[in-house]
């Protein structure tokens, strides 16, 4: 009953005319940006931060949440029509979506993606509503040692679940923390790594790093990979209608994948990409016609789409209840919240119920928008994919510049943006994952503060991290998340040699 009352309170906020407009704008903008190959939800969110800067935190987060799941949904459109996933979370959608499009059934695949996203998103909001306050109550008892351990776990999980080298992931995370501590140490007033530059005394704005590492680096990467005028021909859309039998066929996969997706999203480091792959492979195993997966099976579109949207919502659980983002995307969301003056965490549910419940209620509205707005507009929105690439690249650059300059009015930050763009390009070329860097950048300062506070409480005794059971278990899981993939790799290598 309490949850219902809170939800009604949230609807009171989310249904304010301006907030409805923000959800609409967020979902629409997210769909368009997510559709553009290369630009994922992280870039979309980073590009939106300057817009949300002056907003009420609840409105800002409502808009950002809309952008997030809009971007995931938008990514499915380019996956299906072009076989060029706009976001990693929709790669699995292309396995069957693109073959369906080649068979002249792109409309059907897009409609399935829309319905599945809607159901996946809606089911997981119900779970979020029920799970988040419970987790929040547990998290209230967390002290600095537990928080430090939780953040270490968040980082190691993101690194270990990345498809790239573990060592390179860890290096990216360490560099992210190094960037985060540039500036004046707030506890002692000591300057660290400012090189005497006044511009660096306040540290490096995370927006500069996020836009550089993701959006600008993506522009550079596209330029290297033939960013000129070559456009890929896209498939015609065709009818969006589904038969009764098709609806029955996809019902169970959507239900299963929605639940699986939510819990995958809650886990630090997992999220939409892993959720969608798990949903896809689970349905492939369960389906009687599993051998037709990859050749245009509608269940192969429904499962990953339900799972990826459910995972997006699931990823809000650690962010809103613990204040610890479990992925690069939610790290950007956390950064945006901090910019707006809100610190998410267990206390937020009590201190800022407008933000917490407003966002949850707005997710229902956003999912309805996703369905009723995007489905009929798909043929129109898909025309964005025909936008000439040179013009698109130039405009993305302008958005990056305005985003940074509009926040800081600093030419120095524009040059830093360029530096991080080049760093991001280098990371991409040499196989360093970018998500751990951005997550570490957001968590680094809080992590150091938690560590120092814990050590101050213990009088410098490092055993505080082991003496506290929650902290100890979190650190053990963190260590296992790094060691197990190495052991698995070593065993696989030994078997291959044998």
């Amino acid at each position: 009953m309490e949850a219902f009352n809170n939800l009604m309170y949230g609807f009171g906020i989310a249904l304010e005319p301006m907030n409805i407009a923000y959800v609409f704008f967020g979902v629409f903008a997210g769909t368009i940006i997510g559709m553009l190959p290369g630009l994922g939800p992280i870039s979309a969110l980073a590009l939106m931060i300057p817009i949300t800067f002056a907003m009420e935190p609840s409105s800002g987060l409502i808009l950002m949440a809309g952008v997030y799941y809009g971007a995931i949904f938008g990514g499915s459109t380019s996956s299906i029509l072009l076989n060029a996933p706009g976001v990693a979370g929709t790669v699995a959608t292309s396995f069957d979506g693109y073959p369906l499009a080649k068979q002249g059934m792109a409309g059907k695949a897009l409609a399935i993606a829309a319905y599945s996203s809607f159901i996946g998103g809606t089911v997981s909001i119900i779970f979020l509503m029920l799970v988040a306050p419970l987790l929040g109550k547990v998290a209230v008892s967390f002290g600095p040692a537990e928080y430090f351990a939780l953040m270490v776990l968040g980082l190691t999980a993101v690194v270990s679940l990345s498809d790239k080298s573990l060592v390179k992931g860890l290096i990216a995370a360490v560099v992210g923390v190094m960037i985060s501590i540039i500036g004046i140490d707030l506890q002692t007033g000591t300057e660290r790594y400012t090189f005497g530059a006044a511009h660096l005394l306040d540290g490096i704005d995370f927006l500069v790093v996020a836009l550089g590492i993701f959006a600008l680096a993506e522009v550079f990467y596209m330029l290297l990979r033939g960013g000129g005028g070559k456009e890929q021909p896209r498939n015609a859309i065709g009818s969006l209608k589904l038969s009764g039998r098709e609806c029955r066929d996809i019902a169970a996969p959507i239900g299963r994948s929605s639940i699986l997706g939510f819990f995958t999203g809650v886990l630090p480091g997992a999220g939409a990409t892993i959720g969608s792959f798990l949903g896809y492979s689970m349905e492939k195993r369960l389906a009687k016609d599993g051998d037709t997966f990859g050749k245009g099976n509608i269940k192969g579109v429904a499962a990953p789409e339900a799972a990826n949207n459910a995972a997006c919502t699931g990823s809000f659980v650690p962010l809103l209840t613990l204040g610890v983002p479990g992925s690069g995307t939610t790290a950007v969301l956390l950064g945006a919240l901090l910019v707006m003056g809100v610190t998410p965490g267990p206390a937020m549910i009590e201190s800022r119920p407008d933000v917490f419940w407003g966002v949850i209620a707005s997710m229902y509205i956003g999912n309805i928008f996703l369905l009723v707005l995007n489905l009929p507009l798909i043929p129109l929105i898909a025309k964005i994919l025909d936008m000439p690439r040179p013009l698109l690249l130039a405009l993305i650059l302008i958005f990056c510049m305005i985003g940074v300059y509009g926040m800081s009015f600093s030419v120095f930050d524009l040059l830093l943006l360029l530096g991080f763009g080049l760093l991001g390009l280098g990371m991409r070329l040499f196989g360093f994952p970018a998500a751990p860097l951005i997550l570490a950048l957001i968590l680094g300062a809080i992590m150091e503060e938690s560590m120092r506070r814990a050590l101050q409480i213990s009088g410098g005794d490092w055993m505080i991290f082991i003496d506290k059971p929650i902290s100890m278990w979190l650190l053990i899981i963190a260590a296992l998340s790094l060691v197990l993939p190495m052991v698995k790799k070593a065993i696989a290598g030994a078997r291959a040699r044998a």
Binding site: V177, R225, V411, G431
Partner: protein, 160 residues
């Protein structure tokens, strides 16, 4: 002499960064009052961690994803200024020039010129559409930022 692989070269560069970082960590002044943890502890932990990870990277065999793909030979055969890496360099220089000229010539002129110029340089030849889109997007952003969000953007040479 055995040639170093890409991971080993990267590892050496990162190790140098780590050593420099550690050297600077030792120069962080102590806080006047004794504390269990001072400002230099975390940077030292980070520096040594990066050094250790560099060693691990040195020993790690590069996979296909660690080595940059070959660039398209057709793109490479283009005139020097239009080659892939030239596009990155020219774009970077354009950003530097934009940053330096933003205040003197103003946001609208600088941004429109950058957007139009880069789209043209990347190969878009419909100049009318290019100008209309560049100017339209920049003006829309300018008006949103200045009139709706009360964010000041330099007007420069235009009396906006």
């Amino acid at each position: 002499m055995t040639r170093l692989n890409v991971n080993q070269v990267l590892a050496l560069c990162l190790a140098l960064v780590a050593v420099g970082y550690l050297a600077m960590a030792w120069q962080i002044p102590d806080f006047p009052l004794p504390r269990p943890v001072d400002s230099d502890l975390f940077p030292k932990v980070l520096g040594f961690t990066l050094l250790g990870l560099s060693l691990l990277l040195f020993l790690e065999k590069p996979k296909a994803q660690d080595i940059p793909d070959e660039l398209d030979p057709n793109e490479q055969a283009q005139p020097l200024l239009l080659r892939p890496w030239s596009r990155v360099v020219v774009t970077s220089l354009a950003i530097v020039v934009y940053a330096l000229l933003l205040a003197p010539i103003g946001f609208v002129v600088a941004s429109t010129t950058l957007s139009f110029g880069l789209a043209w340089y990347y190969g878009y030849r419909r100049h009318g559409v290019n100008m209309a889109v560049s100017l339209g997007v920049v003006l829309a952003l300018y008006l949103t930022m200045t009139k709706v969000m009360d964010v000041y953007l330099p007007t420069g040479i235009l009396p906006l």
